[in-house]
C-alpha cells in the first residue's frame, strides 16, 4: 500500500477518535485547556496540532458533552476548566464499547493477514 493512502486512513481515524480521547481524558477528572491540549499532543501517534483542539472543545461544549467553569490558579489569571457532563459520560461509554469491538476486529483481520503472508513463504 502506498504510504499516502495509509496516512490518509490514519488521519481520518485520528479525526474521528480525537473527541473521544478528549472525553476520556476529562473522564479522569477536570482539566484546563492548556493541560488537556498538552497531554493530547504528547500522546504518541495522535499527532495533533494543539490549536485545533480548542475548536473541538468548543463543539463538545455546544453539544453539551462537556461544560466549563472558571477557577483561580496559583500562578496567573483564572483558568477555564472543562469537565464531562452526564451526556458526555454516556457518549464516552458508548464509544468505548464500540471501539473495543472495532479494534478487536481490525486487529484480528490484520493478524490473520500476517499469518496468511507467513504461510505463503
Amino acid at each position: 500500500m502506498e504510504p499516502g493512502r495509509a496516512r490518509n486512513a490514519l488521519s481520518q481515524l485520528r479525526k474521528g477518535t480525537l473527541e473521544y480521547c478528549v472525553l476520556a481524558l476529562l473522564g479522569e477528572g477536570q482539566r484546563y485547556g492548556f493541560e488537556l491540549v498538552r497531554t493530547l499532543s504528547e500522546a504518541d501517534g495522535l499527532m495533533v496540532s494543539e490549536g485545533t483542539i480548542y475548536p473541538l472543545l468548543s463543539r463538545l461544549r455546544r453539544d453539551l458533552l462537556v461544560e466549563t467553569s472558571w477557577q483561580e490558579s496559583e500562578s496567573g489569571p483564572p483558568r477555564r476548566y472543562y469537565h464531562l457532563t452526564d451526556a458526555g459520560r454516556r457518549a464516552l461509554a458508548d464509544f468505548s464499547d464500540e471501539w473495543t469491538k472495532f479494534r478487536d476486529s481490525v486487529d484480528a483481520l490484520l493478524q490473520h493477514k500476517e499469518k496468511g503472508d507467513a504461510g505463503e513463504h
Binding site: G33, F34, S75, G76
Partner: protein, 186 residues
C-alpha cells in the same frame, strides 16, 4: 493578567483573528481567548527573549488557518452537523390555503383571480422558506383551480358572445336589444 507583547505572538494572534473572520462572533471571541490563554500559559515556561522557544510553541499550536479550518469543519467525515436547535415544525403557508379556498369558490371569476395571485405568491414564499413552510401542493391546486376558473370565465364569455351573435342573425335584427324591447304596435 500577564500581557504578551512578544511580536511573534502578536503577529500570530493577528493572523488568527484575520483567518477567523467568517466564524460567528462568539465563537471567534472564544477561540481567540482560548488560544491567548494557551500562549500565556506556554510562554510562562519559556525564558524571556528565547525566540526559538516561542517559535516552537507557535509551531506546536499549528497554523492559524489550520485552527480555523478545524473550527469550520465540525465532523470527521466532513458532514456538517448544525447546532442542536430543534427544527421548528414546518407550518402551512396561509396564502396557499387562501389560494385553494378562492380556487374552490369561483365567485364569478374574482375568486379565480385571487386564487392565482395568492397561489403564485404562496409558492414563492414556500420556496424561499427553504423547508420551513409547506403547502406547496395546496397552492398548486389553488393555481390549477384558478386557471380552470379563468378558462370557464373565458369560455362563458365566448359562448355568450356566439349566442348573442347567433340570436342576432336568426332574428335578423341589428341588435339583440331590439328583441327585448317591445315594439310599439298600433
Amino acid at each position: 493578567m500577564q500581557v504578551n507583547t512578544d511580536p511573534l505572538v502578536e503577529d500570530y494572534m493577528r493572523r488568527l483573528e484575520a483567518a477567523a473572520w467568517a466564524l460567528p462572533d462568539y465563537r471567534r471571541e472564544e477561540l481567540l481567548a482560548e488560544i491567548r490563554a494557551h500562549l500565556d500559559e506556554a510562554l510562562r515556561q519559556v525564558p524571556a527573549g528565547d525566540e526559538a522557544a516561542v517559535r516552537s510553541v507557535l509551531a506546536r499550536l499549528g497554523s492559524p488557518e489550520e485552527i480555523v479550518a478545524a473550527a469550520a469543519d465540525p465532523m470527521p467525515d466532513g458532514q456538517f452537523v448544525p447546532y442542536p436547535v430543534p427544527a421548528p415544525a414546518p407550518e402551512t403557508n396561509g396564502l396557499a390555503i387562501a389560494s385553494l379556498l378562492f380556487g374552490i369558490f369561483w365567485l364569478g371569476g374574482i375568486g379565480s383571480l385571487a386564487a392565482l395571485i395568492l397561489g403564485y405568491r404562496a409558492r414563492r414564499e414556500i420556496r424561499r422558506s427553504a423547508g420551513f413552510q409547506r403547502g406547496s401542493s395546496l397552492a398548486t391546486i389553488g393555481i390549477v383551480l384558478g386557471w380552470i376558473g379563468v378558462a370557464l370565465l373565458v369560455m362563458a364569455a365566448v359562448a355568450a358572445f356566439f349566442l348573442l351573435a347567433a340570436s342576432s342573425t336568426t332574428t335578423g335584427t341589428p341588435t339583440p336589444v331590439a328583441s327585448v324591447v317591445p315594439v310599439p304596435s298600433g
